[in-house]
Symmetry: C2
Subunit: 223 residues, 2 copies
Amino acid sequence: MTLSNKDTNITWHEGAVTREERQALLKQKGVTVWMTGLSASGKSTIASILEQMLLHQGKAAYRLDGDNIRFGLNKDPKSLKEKSGYSDEAAKRFGIGFSAEDRGENIRRIGEVAKLFSDAGVIAVTSFISPYIKDRDAVRANNKPGEFIEVYINVSLATAEKRDPKGLYKKARAGEIKGFTGIDDPYEAPVNPEIVVDTENASPEEAAKQILAYLTDKGYLAA
Amino acid sequence: MTLSNKDTNITWHEGAVTREERQALLKQKGVTVWMTGLSASGKSTIASILEQMLLHQGKAAYRLDGDNIRFGLNKDPKSLKEKSGYSDEAAKRFGIGFSAEDRGENIRRIGEVAKLFSDAGVIAVTSFISPYIKDRDAVRANNKPGEFIEVYINVSLATAEKRDPKGLYKKARAGEIKGFTGIDDPYEAPVNPEIVVDTENASPEEAAKQILAYLTDKGYLAA
């Protein structure tokens, strides 16, 4: 059933709004821009600048990162218990820790949230190390072609370790952090990513511009 | 550190983009519009029409409902195993079923996702029965004042049961569905919701207009 709106001559329908409808009205295409790379590769900075560039063009964009995911949707068991009043059992069951299985579920949920943003017509920019090909490929497989763009933020371990803005590599080398990607846990570089950003040579702004150019050329910023 | 952009005189910053920045650039305020009400109260239809009305004003809006949540982020254990290749143990642990605990976690995650949309400057419209005051109040408490709007889609059980578009009440009365809200599981009406919609008398379009008027009056559709 459709409902006519006499005031504006717009007709409302009762069924679910489609992705195509949203995109036409927002004049942009939803997509997941999935950044992957070592700690200190520059993912967060590049994602933040890309988000600003998109917003300044009037395009809805949003960055998903550790700060807004790990403290909310993917809380650890302790936080679920203390902040959400969960029983020990429920907190342990639903909370996300740092085992391989937990990391996999963490990435799966992030992929699902990014997909919702993408379905909403928003450009979702994720900045997580996401070191395993298997987890990233599962997210890709959950999206239609063209709705998932893998961006490899490429940097050598030596450079990342030299930058080490949070001192994490130093702690990992000292054995104070276990399972740190690049030190005692592997980073699996993308085999065939849509975009490779070389942060050895490019500044964060240049990297963001490179991704923006891709989005523009491929038509994501138009209906 | 901020980066100046010589082309446009816009300055990019390296830190996280704030909610306020996004809202100013998108010319709207993010918010969670949380609909609650019995099955067949009209939540989904009203949410869909509200979403269309917002999109036609060029406002980013998105509806979260059972269809896009239960088949993605909040999959059941069986789907996690079959579609995501989870082990029995991981599927059981991370999957969402229908126990009271599972329903609570379902609503918590939906609340967190809506909060991300709201943070992104998008108007998130959720349409879930969400029968328990405790669960809804937990979502409210997780948001700042003004960033969560509870909309009670009020309908009598008699009317909802008479509509019964999917035959669910009939099945529940016949004992074919257990724990059905309104029949053998309680619905706890909101005590102090921001909006009450009377769907006994208002059409879905009139109900959507009522909510739209609230959003407009309270300044959500402007920067």
